[in-house]
């Protein structure tokens, strides 16, 4: 809290604009306005910049910070365990995956509050290298015919999805400490351009009809990477960058709660999760 470097803060700003897109974000946007995602995302970036200016003002209210922290914490735990259970560990019961993640979050809460920012610095470097590996191996597989305009043009849907994009990328900023002094718009801009490149790759490689049926299209395009005909199926290694980003969000939101409330909250999440998974199974299958 006392001495957070400029680099560290910018790295967290960069990394926080993305974790909420895991699972539900990309799927929704492609399904709503398939071919016109460019317009929608650029509008979303502008909206996001405006929302960031507003959240500079809103960051004074501590109650709002705590409420949003709790909501984001629960949401990210849920999406991350679902993603890992589908993609990495099929047969492991979900509560074991959740328990491992809970323990790591508790361990990180026991450290100083500025440790997360230092870790974000290192994760930034790792994510950028993985990003470059991914883009340069996938550029050759883009099929230009996939960019043709297939879906209908509808202004309402475009505005809808740009608002959705802006909200998903700027909500985590409300939980940051000292947002007003250290906010730098360039970090947000770079992060959104990264997401834009990701969308371009998804639509260019898979095509709109195929990309709109997959739950995790950002994982499916990694399956197509083939470097020198030897390194294939490296999707599991490259997906770790998403796990790191989600962890940064979990760490920062847990910093806003005191240790006792965090323990109680995580304990209730764990118990409710195990109960609800067994009882209300059908409800959850529909969403995930």
């Amino acid at each position: 809290m006392k001495k957070i470097n400029n680099y560290e803060y910018n790295s967290t700003l960069f990394l926080l604009a993305r974790p909420l897109f895991l699972g539900f974000g990309i799927y929704q946007i492609i399904n709503q306005i398939g071919s016109f995602f460019w317009i929608s995302i650029i509008l979303g970036i502008f909206l996001g910049l405006i929302i960031n200016e507003c959240s500079k003002f809103l960051s004074r209210f501590k109650a709002l910070k705590i409420v949003i922290s709790i909501i984001l914490l629960v949401y990210v735990f849920y999406t991350l365990t679902s993603a890992i259970s589908t993609l990495y560990l099929n047969k492991t019961p979900k509560f074991i995956i959740l328990a491992a993640l809970l323990l790591v979050v508790i361990y990180s809460r026991n450290k100083n509050k500025d440790t997360i920012f230092k870790i974000a610095n290192i994760f930034f470097i790792i994510n950028i290298t993985l990003f470059f590996i991914m883009t340069f191996s996938l550029l050759s597989q883009i099929n230009y015919q996939n960019f043709e305009l297939i879906t209908k043009f509808s202004v309402l849907k475009i505005i809808n999805s740009s608002v959705y994009f802006a909200l998903l990328s700027t909500l985590p900023y409300l939980t940051l400490p000292n947002f007003k002094e250290n906010y730098n718009y360039k970090a947000y801009l770079f992060s959104s351009i990264y997401t834009l490149i990701l969308f371009t790759l998804i639509v260019g490689i898979l095509g709109i009809p195929v990309a709109s049926i997959y739950k995790y299209p950002e994982y499916i395009i990694f399956k197509k990477i083939s470097i020198l005909n030897i390194f294939e199926n490296v999707q599991n290694f490259l997906f770790i960058s998403w796990i790191f980003e989600c962890f940064i969000l979990l760490g920062i939101t847990s910093n806003n709660l005191s240790k006792k409330t965090l323990l109680i909250l995580l304990f209730t999440i764990f118990i409710l999760y195990t109960i609800f998974i067994t009882k209300f199974n059908i409800l959850f299958v529909g969403i995930y």
Partner: protein
């Protein structure tokens, strides 16, 4: 702090659910699905075996059941290893299954995370015979067919799962798949099928497959044979097709870049002669393309996706015009033709 350590140690000792021993995995190379008249799925799996001398051999498993999953369970009943689909090379579907159960098959293959994404798909009515034919030569069927499809000297239709799904889910396209036939004890892939509303309606022969490849910009080699007084062969190395829709007509403009590779008794210094030959080749190619597109209009099927230009629901009664460009480049080692003056 100590509590966290104790909890993590207990957590780590809870057992590994996803642990797979490498020696317990059976790598599946080809997967063939047939739908018999008894409303049952009949599947054949080809499993790669690893011997100590680095020789490759494989063996087959058969099974049947009401659903694909039941058939796979039936096939692996007496088998002692876990089936592992992630290095799948080819998926064979019989025509009956393609007509009736294509939705089911594609759903099964796309839903599971442990399926590969880059395997070829083909139609084969006698998969067991075809696979056993290759097994006699001591090669693995999946790998053999994979390299066969990658060879650009043959004009084949190389469709992987992603392309098939793209055409299948897109309402502007009709899907097209290659056929693997067994003729005189050898495997030949020289035909293709076109679908309309997910039913097979027409077979294409070799010539039409090559024209399809040119019109959809798949990079395969192509040659035209012209028979005048002499035999002349023109081979393309590079082609590009552009399509426009203006004034209610569809303009298709293929550009073929290539060179003459086989002459017989011809004088190359006569430029008028060369011009005449080029125009004849142009005309011949135009005729072939027109015949192909007329055929497509007649059967009302559209594997090329021309509907996305005309914005109609069918190809019925459209006007089209084809204008070919042939670009000659000289890549030969000799100036004169042997036998010419």
């Amino acid at each position: 702090m100590k509590k966290i350590i104790i909890l993590t140690i207990i957590l780590l000792l809870t057992g590994c659910y996803n642990y797979k021993e490498v020696s317990d995995l059976a790598f599946i190379s080809s997967f063939s699905i047939d739908y018999t008249n008894n409303n049952e799925f009949n599947i054949i799996l080809e499993i790669k075996e690893n011997n100590k001398d680095n020789l490759f051999s494989s063996y087959l498993l058969e099974g049947y059941g009401k659903t694909i999953e039941a058939a796979i369970q039936n096939a692996s009943l007496s088998f002692n290893k876990n089936l592992y689909f992630i290095n799948l090379d080819i998926l064979l579907i019989s025509s009956n299954a393609a007509n009736l159960k294509l939705n089911n098959i594609l759903d099964y293959v796309t839903r599971d995370n442990n399926f590969a994404l880059d395997f070829n798909i083909a139609i084969c009515d006698d998969s067991k015979g075809a696979i056993e034919n290759i097994l006699k030569k001591e090669e693995i069927f999946g790998r053999y067919i994979n390299t066969l499809f990658k060879n650009t000297d043959n004009n084949v239709i190389n469709i992987k799962l992603n392309d098939l799904l793209n055409s299948y889910l897109n309402h502007y396209y009709d899907i097209i798949l290659p056929i693997i036939n067994l003729k005189d004890n050898t495997i030949i892939i020289d035909e293709a099928v076109i679908f309309k509303n997910n039913e097979i309606i027409e077979h294409l022969n070799e010539k039409e497959i090559s024209i399809y490849n040119i019109l959809s910009n798949n990079l395969m080699d192509y040659y035209i044979h012209l028979e005048l007084d002499n035999n002349i062969v023109f081979k393309t190395t590079h082609y590009n097709t552009k399509t426009n829709f203006k004034n209610n007509t569809l303009y298709i403009i293929p550009t073929l870049t290539g060179s003459y590779i086989e002459f017989e008794n011809l004088n190359l210094n006569n430029s008028k002669e060369l011009k005449r030959i080029t125009e004849k080749i142009n005309a011949k190619f135009n005729n072939e393309v027109e015949a192909f597109i007329d055929n497509l209009i007649k059967i009302e099927s559209d594997p090329l996706g021309l509907k996305r230009y005309i914005k109609q629901k069918s190809l019925h009664k459209i006007k089209y015009r084809i204008s070919t460009n042939i670009v000659l480049e000289n890549k030969s080692l000799i100036f004169k033709s042997i036998g010419g003056k």
